[in-house]
Structure formats: structure tokens, C-alpha cells
């Protein structure tokens, strides 16, 4: 199957500062691989299967070496699309890039488009599917291609849900753990030397109008003084009173 994995499409929240007035200062943070990006790539490879093709796609200053060092042969970037804070605009930019890849490959639609189902940007994967007009499954932890259909697995509470759907589809990936084997320096250096194909994606206008910001609610803090024993007793009593213990 032909799959497209989208990675490094948002800035790392770890690079952001939330000011006291609620403003978020990104400080020029670059696009970063999210926790779920390696899972998205694994799913793209699994769905593509032996003989299939995986195409890596990123936007802004997302580095294509990230996906090339992880065994993907073809990486494309849409550098004109900077980091967008509007999830709908981000999804529109990604959809535009996906269609350009599909047009270049002369296919109507890739079998699967896999994108991180990032907790910080929950609207992107479903909005991307809506833009492309394809079904979407979110919270996918693993997937495989089985003949002419895609079988995905996702955790729902303590159960594992197995869903079969025909291609084309959009899959929102979530990581079950750390990346098993990050690439080494040599793999990354070789990846850096590979050519990058740029896509002429036009940044869509942001659809979201911001009218203000609200600082996150602060949780009240109680300090327990006195000796360590007294403080510990007071803490335990308070936790019991609140029904925690």
C-alpha cells in the first residue's frame, strides 16, 4: 500500500512559556517531533507493508532527516507553511500537501495518511480527514494492511478495539511508549545528505479569531508547617478529609 506519514507539524510545547497573563511565548521554537510521531511512522510502515511505499511529509522548518534516518526513502516538505496555532488552518495546509503528493504520484488517494493524534492538537487529525473527505480513526496504537483493508487497534479503557476499514483513510496515531530505537549519528548524517523535495503549499489563512486569553486556573496550595512528623500527620489528615485516602 501507499502511505503518507505526517511528522514534525507542530512546535514542541516544551519550548513554550505561558506568561502570567496567559500569553504563550514560543520564543522562535522550531518544529519538533512529537511523542506520537515515531508511532505514526511505525503505523505507516506497517500499513504500507513489504513492497509498499511510505512518504514522509513535514511543514515549516521540520527536518526531513528525521524521517529519512528512520528508513523512509522519500521525504517532502512544505517550508512555506510556518507553525500555525490554528488547528483548522494546519489541517488545511496538510491536506493541500497530501493532495500535491498524491497528484505527483498520479494516484487518486494514498491508502492511508497517518498523523500524530497529538493531545495538544486534538483537532488536526479529524479536520485533516474532513478536508480530504476520508474516514478517520483516532487513538490508533498499531495497524496492519490485510489484503484490501486496513486493520487498526486502539485502546479504549482496558479493552483493545480492533477496527477494519477500507482505504483510503486517515489514522491518528498515539504512542504506546518510547521510541524503540532512535537512529544513530551515522544514519542521521546520511539522511541529512539526501535531497529534500519541496512542495509549493500556500499557507491558508488562520480561521480562528482570538478575542483574548485566560491564564490556566491555579490550584490552591496548602502548606503544612511544623516538624516533619506534624506536617506529615496534617497532610494525611487533609487527604483523608478530602476523601483522597
Amino acid at each position: 500500500m501507499k502511505t503518507i506519514v505526517i511528522y514534525k507539524w507542530f512546535r514542541s510545547a516544551a519550548s513554550a512559556l505561558v506568561r502570567q497573563d496567559g500569553q504563550v511565548d514560543w520564543g522562535g521554537a522550531k518544529m519538533a517531533a512529537g511523542d506520537d510521531d515515531p508511532a505514526a511512522l511505525d503505523i505507516a510502515k506497517a500499513v504500507a507493508g513489504p513492497g509498499g511505499t511510505v512518504t514522509g511529509l513535514t511543514i515549516g522548518d521540520g527536518e526531513t532527516a528525521w524521517v529519512l534516518a528512520r528508513g523512509v526513502e522519500r521525504a517532502l516538505a512544505a517550508p512555506a507553511v510556518g507553525p500555525l496555532t490554528d488547528e483548522l488552518a494546519t489541517a488545511r495546509a496538510l491536506a493541500q500537501a497530501v493532495r500535491l503528493v498524491e497528484a505527483a504520484d498520479a494516484v487518486e488517494a494514498a491508502d492511508a495518511v497517518i498523523v500524530a493524534d497529538a493531545a495538544a492538537h486534538p483537532g488536526v487529525a479529524p479536520a485533516l480527514a474532513a478536508e480530504l473527505g476520508r474516514p478517520v480513526v483516532l487513538c490508533v496504537s498499531s495497524a496492519a494492511a490485510d489484503g484490501s483493508q486496513i486493520t487498526v487497534r486502539r485502546r479504549v479503557g482496558n479493552a483493545v478495539e480492533v477496527i477494519c476499514l477500507p482505504p483510503p483513510a486517515v489514522l491518528g496515531a498515539v504512542a504506546a511508549g518510547e521510541e524503540a530505537r532512535p537512529p544513530g549519528m551515522m544514519e542521521t548524517i546520511r539522511a541529512r545528505k539526501k535531497p529534500v523535495v519541496e512542495l509549493p503549499v500556500t499557507p491558508p489563512p488562520e480561521a480562528l479569531e482570538r478575542r483574548g486569553t485566560r491564564p490556566p486556573a491555579r490550584l490552591g496550595a496548602r502548606l503544612f508547617g511544623g516538624s516533619p512528623d506534624d506536617a506529615a500527620s496534617a497532610l494525611v489528615a487533609a487527604l483523608r478529609a478530602d476523601g483522597v485516602l
Binding site: 512559556l17 502570567q20 548524517i189
Partner: protein
């Protein structure tokens, strides 16, 4: 590792993966370890000259592990990056310098502000996360490959010559490795050029960055727009531990911290974080920071030994630059590291270019680096201030001189209706009740004259 074991290196100029001049096949001409000021400045100059350069940084991105505790005396950067102060992400131009003696209930300042320090720009405040990212971008634009997030864990050595680096399972070969990996340079130790430094040559620096509006900063520190102030503080900021405090203004934040000599800190059993909190909350310091928002907090090992920390700077196929070479100077008036790092990068890059052109990376050629360094402002300043660490190791400077100055000034300004006396009498009477004697004053004065 000895010079007699040295072999030749390739005549590198251009891309790697070649075996020139009878040397070993290489992936890069030069591998620079550490993307701070020294590493980036070296990598930039070599890449700009057409050599293939790999710049490896252990942190997830350049600047992620850097922490400066002083201002950047940046004129040297114009030699490497013309127009540096216009192009680089500097915070403020430092035009006001304060040397402060901080006591529990008094605060004596020597406050020096001068418009001449603004033109040409002499010193700037920087945030390393921004500056190092900019520097590494310049390296990439010059053609260097920047690899962040990889830890170099060993040197490759063949026939006594350093010929590359190892990182996990990967090995990369080159003609010259440049160690720019900071005061605790493990690869310089690996090359046998450094041993573990004594604790009195090392200090721990802790810094907080406190966010404040730029107008508030300019009002509180009495600054023109865009200009900045730097405070070097001794006394109660370290609760008597050898070291000092610093505070300088960024564009929209104030960097404040303490530098604590490791041996003294351990002897007194104090916690460095407590001492930073104490300094930040000191009654004469807190008003500068009132209403501020803590943005960053970090700690860093600091070289305090001055020239005594400098060791051999080259081995076959290997040079050491910046703080890894022990290049840091604390004179009590100025705290310098970044300018010395840049100066060493110039000397090292010139020498490595020469070695690559000659196809000879033996110490015979690479020893041009220490010679160039010694002839530059870096080597000369390290020699001029070689006695400064001993001066600053004395306990009196941290404990006694601040109260003495405050008591003399109290005698001058406390007009209690008693008849005034001449200043020298006031000073003499104050000295009589101080733990310091004239002998101490004379001795320390002579030391200071020789050290500074």
C-alpha cells in the same frame, strides 16, 4: 599520546569521504564537539573556509545546555561575524557596571555608567539558548553539519593520533577533532590533556532568569532604552562562601545568580540552591526583581582557576578550545568566558586551516594554536590576571571589606550632631573596630595591585 606517534592528516578542503595526503579516510575534515561559543566559532570559520565540518552537540539543541553567568565582551566576535551586534540575538548593550559589596543591612556600590561603552558596543547581555541557536545557524549556512542530541563518548585513536569520535555504535573519522565541550571536557580527558581539576579551581554557578517588562527594567536599573546593567556582587550574597553574585539585565528579564567555590561550599555544608534563594530574596536585591516571573533556572560548573587551569591544548589530531581549555577569568570586576572562547576559536581555526592545507595534523603544526593563543589578547589576559584566583580565594574579600566600607560611609553620612571629623580619621577609627588590621589592608592591597 606523544608527538612522535603522530601521523599525517589529509589535505582537506571540501567534502569528506576522502583519503588525502597519505592520511586516513575521513567522513569530515574536522569534527567539533560542543556547540557553544567556542565550538560554533571554530566550526564556522573552518566551514567558511571550505572545509567539511561536523559540529556535534550533546543537548537536544545548541544552547540547551549552556548557561552564561556574565556578560559577553563581544568585540572579538566582529572578527568572526562582521556586524555581530546588529545580527545576533543580543539582549542589551551593557553601559553600566556595578561592583557591589552586599552586607546584611547595607549595600555599597561602585557604579560606573558610561556612554562610551555603547559605541562601539563593548559588552552585551545574551541568553545562550538564543545566541547558541543563532551561532549554529551561521555554521549551517557556512556549510557545517550541525548534529544536536548526540553524545560523543570516546575519541578514536590510531598510532597515537586522534582520528575521529565515537558515539554509541557509530564511529566518525576526521583529520582533526576540536574539543569545545565545556569545563568538564571528557574528551580532553580522554586525550590525556586534562586531569580532574581540584575543587578550589571549580565553582558551581546557579542562575535564575526573572521575567520583567522592559520598561520596568529600564526604570529600576536607571537605563536608557536598549541599554543594560551588570552587577558583580560580593559579600552576603554567598553567606561567606567563596564566590560571588551577579545580576544583569536582558531585554525583558533579569539574570541573577551566584557562583560558589566547590571546596568552600562543601566545607560549610551549605546548599547552593538555598544560597541563590537567599540572594534573590535579599532586602537590597529583591526590589529589583519585585513582581517578576521566574522563567528559567539552571546550574553549571564554572572554571575559576584562571591560568592554572590551562593544560596542554593540542595532541596529534586534537585541539581544545574555550572553557574545555580552562579559559575563564574572574577578576572580581569582570567575569569572562565567552570572549576568551571566541578568541581561542580564532587561534584554533587558523591553525587547523594551516594543518589541513599542509596535510599535517601533528603537534608540530598544531602547536601553532597555543602560540597564536599566547600572542592574542586571550593568552595575554590569562597571564595578566594569573594571580586573580588567589586574590579571590581570600575570605576577607567576602566577609570583611563590605562591612568595613559600609561602616566608613556610615561615619560620613550619619550626621548625628556630633562634630565631623576628617574622612581619614573616620576610616582609621572604623578600622580599629574591624576584624581587619592595617597589615591586612596593606597585604590585600598589594595582592590586588599584583593580581589586577
Amino acid at each position: 599520546m606523544t608527538a612522535s606517534n603522530a601521523s599525517n592528516c589529509g589535505n582537506g578542503n571540501g567534502n569528506g569521504n576522502r583519503n588525502g595526503g597519505g592520511g586516513h579516510a575521513v567522513d569530515f575534515d574536522v569534527i567539533v564537539v560542543g556547540a557553544g561559543v567556542a565550538g560554533c566559532a571554530t566550526a564556522f570559520q573552518l566551514a567558511d573556509a571550505g572545509h567539511s565540518v561536523l559540529l556535534v552537540e550533546r543537548g537536544p539543541e545548541p544552547g540547551a545546555k549552556s548557561l552564561s553567568g556574565g556578560v559577553f565582551y563581544c568585540r572579538v566576535m566582529e572578527q568572526i561575524f562582521p556586524g555581530f551586534t546588529d545580527a545576533a540575538p543580543i539582549e542589551r548593550v551593557i553601559t553600566r557596571n556595578c561592583v557591589s559589596f552586599l552586607n546584611p543591612s547595607s549595600f555599597v556600590n561602585i557604579d560606573y555608567a558610561d556612554d562610551r561603552l555603547a559605541q562601539p558596543v563593548n559588552a552585551v547581555s545574551v541568553l545562550r539558548s538564543k545566541l547558541d541557536a543563532w551561532l549554529s545557524d551561521q555554521c549551517e549556512r557556512a556549510g557545517a553539519m550541525v548534529m544536536a542530541g548526540f553524545r560523543v563518548d570516546r575519541l578514536l585513536v590510531e598510532h597515537g593520533q586522534v582520528c575521529g569520535i565515537g558515539a554509541g555504535e557509530d564511529e566518525l573519522r576526521c583529520h582533526v577533532v576540536v574539543a569545545a565541550d565545556g569545563v568538564n571536557s571528557f574528551i580532553a580527558r580522554d586525550a590525556g590533556l586534562r586531569t580532574k581539576d581540584p575543587a578550589n579551581h571549580l565553582a558551581v554557578g546557579l542562575k535564575s532568569v526573572i521575567g520583567l517588562e522592559r520598561g520596568v527594567i529600564e526604570d529600576r536599573f536607571n537605563l536608557e532604552r536598549g541599554q543594560g546593567a551588570a552587577y558583580a556582587v560580593v559579600g552576603d550574597c554567598t553567606a561567606g562562601v567563596g564566590g560571588g553574585g551577579f545580576m544583569y539585565t536582558n531585554l525583558e528579564s533579569v539574570s541573577i545568580g551566584v557562583v560558589l567555590r566547590l571546596d568552600d561550599l562543601a566545607r560549610r555544608g551549605l546548599k547552593s540552591a538555598d544560597l541563590l534563594d537567599r540572594f534573590v530574596g535579599h532586602r537590597f536585591i529583591a526590589p529589583f526583581l519585585k513582581g517578576g516571573e521566574p522563567l528559567e533556572y539552571g546550574a553549571h560548573l564554572v572554571a575559576e582557576g584562571g591560568q592554572a587551569m590551562m593544560r596542554d591544548l593540542v595532541a596529534p589530531g586534537f585541539v581544545v578550545v574555550g572553557e574545555a581549555a580552562g579559559l575563564a577569568l574572574n577578576t572580581g570586576l569582570t567575569v569572562r568566558g565567552m570572549d576568551l572562547a571566541a578568541g581561542s576559536a580564532i587561534a584554533a581555526a587558523e591553525t587547523v586551516k594551516e594543518a589541513l592545507a599542509a596535510g599535517d595534523c601533528s603537534p608540530a603544526i598544531l602547536s601553532g594554536y597555543p602560540r597564536r593563543l599566547a600572542a592574542s589578547f586571550v593568552g595575554k589576559d590569562m597571564t595578566t590576571y594569573r594571580r586573580a584566583p588567589a586574590l579571590l580565594e581570600g575570605a576577607r574579600i567576602f566577609n570583611d571589606y563590605g562591612p568595613l566600607l559600609a561602616n566608613v560611609l556610615h561615619g560620613v553620612y550619619d550626621l548625628d550632631l556630633s562634630p565631623r571629623r576628617r574622612l581619614w580619621r573616620t576610616a582609621r577609627d572604623t578600622l580599629k573596630t574591624a576584624p581587619l588590621g592595617l597589615r591586612h589592608l596593606a597585604g590585600d592591597g598589594w595582592k590586588a595591585l599584583r593580581a589586577l
